[in-house]
Symmetry: C2
Subunit: 299 residues, 2 copies
């Protein structure tokens, strides 16, 4: 049995079980660090009494995270604006409490791992469009990390031709992808969320234009076998055909592999039933069990 | 001893030796397929008489290439506009002539492998800016491939604010990165190459703006430890500081790891002395020797 956490800015989803399914799950709302991590650790302690021992923990966390194994700050949340969470080391909390191996990656990279397994591919992009826009990438079967980790939600996009008056909501870039197409951007521009707008409202085509530009850039930069689009905004299923069309328009027949059929098969909603990030956390915990731990420094 | 080819649209650079250096190199200009491959095979036959047997071949080739090992067309050049070279299968030519293992990847992916080894990193982007713009990527120590391979030279870029009159030269996208910042784009816009323009000519800052946008997108999408900028256009060394500044401006302090020091250390010219693509071809040949061949179908 494994322990998994999808650690988000508003809630921590915790589970025991494995990637096939959780035996038990709990949601802890994200408050101050000590209260939140206290509640998380109590859940795992209690769950072990009911279900037996945990072999390892996997964490898919909000970030940015330090993921360079050579860094003394490995596993920490770094420059988050979330009060109190800067420099928090979730793996260390878990390791101190339970003395077990802990693996960590970004929430979106964990989700990408889960979706890659569900789709049976090794090259995949997972995109979540909600309060922000996050992108997790699996390349050659491993999550994409290097100097930092991908932050493709902040891609600089071209503006939709008629979209000239809106400055965008990203505090760093103004009109980057997140600034133009996240949930808060949609609300700031139209005064409501997409689902409250009629199907012929220009908001839909405009939203698809931006998401399609991200998909085209992912194809040109990453050559994914699947692009999985999740998050609250993408729960509007009617966005998918519009996004596929916008993606192909942006590629302009340059990539021979991409046509209507490919787009229908490869630009898709998430397949995981439980949250993809939680399923991914089980998978990275499992992988951690099968290799020498890189977390000796935690002891 | 290994055999290596950097196969380009104007010339094939062939060598025998290993990634430490070639014992002998030859340049064959790219003509019709039979003449070109005939000359290439003669070189390797003669070189083996002088230097002894070759264990395997590595090819870094122009493309697009089919790199899906499950495809019957694996190893072929696909939709190239180069007359006569569509569907050409360089590995099959070599295998028919010599009966040895052959590994193939794109020219830019091979170059990325070589530069990753030179820099001692596993996450790297190699960019060449010349007749076209090509990008090779190493992720987790392997080259980036999936559905197709990266074609990040065709990234859709934002225009430099004052760059309004020029339509771009890309036959697919017009004003994508290659359409705006390749050698032919520079010539079409300014009537000359960059090196003929004075240091205060606006062409320099504009060129750096586009290349910096590529670097920022690579950082956001790929988190490379190094971005290596090569090719004829980047031989103008004074572009490097301008590109670094443009990259940081595009990121707008979003990526905590990237500052002036990182940019100076990580956005750099190629380190390989021999062509990076040739060195990479030796490295992929070497890797091919150490695993079961996936080229049985060639027999």
């Amino acid at each position: 049995m494994l322990g998994a956490i999808e650690a988000g800015g508003t809630k921590f989803v915790c589970g025991v079980g494995d990637a096939e399914g959780s035996r038990e799950m709990v949601v802890v709302s994200t408050g101050d660090v000590a209260t939140t991590m206290g509640a998380v650790c109590r859940f795992f302690t209690d769950a072990m009494e009911r279900h037996g021992p945990i072999r390892a923990f996997g964490v898919g966390s909000f970030g940015p995270l330090e993921l360079d194994p050579a860094s003394p700050a490995f596993g920490r949340i770094t420059t988050t604006p979330k009060p109190g969470w800067r420099d928090v080391d979730i793996p260390r909390w878990l390791h101190s409490a339970f003395g077990l191996p802990v693996a960590i990656d970004t929430d979106v990279n964990a989700a990408a791992v889960a979706e890659a397994q569900m789709h049976g591919v090794d090259q995949l992009a997972y995109v979540t469009i909600g309060t922000g826009i996050g992108v997790g990438l699996v390349a050659n079967g491993c999550t994409q990390k290097g100097m930092g980790h991908p932050e493709a939600g902040h891609l600089l996009v071209r503006r939709f031709p008629s979209d000239t008056g809106f400055a965008g909501v990203c505090p760093f870039h103004g009109d980057c992808l997140e600034g133009m197409a996240s949930g808060p951007a949609i609300k700031a521009r139209w005064g409501t969320s997409l689902d409250a707008l009629r199907s012929y409202h220009p908001a839909w085509v405009q939203q698809a234009y931006y998401v399609g530009q991200l998909c085209a850039s992912l194809i040109l930069m990453h050559a994914p076998e699947r692009i999985v689009l999740g998050g609250g905004v993408m729960q509007q299923e009617c966005l998918f055909p519009l996004v596929r069309t916008a993606t192909l328009q942006a590629l302009a027949d340059y990539c021979a592999n991409w046509n209507e059929d490919t787009a229908a098969r490869c630009i898709v909603p998430p397949r995981c039933v439980e949250p993809s990030g939680l399923v991914g956390a089980y998978l990275i915990a499992e992988a951690e069990c099968s290799r020498p731990s890189n977390l000796e420094y935690l002891v």
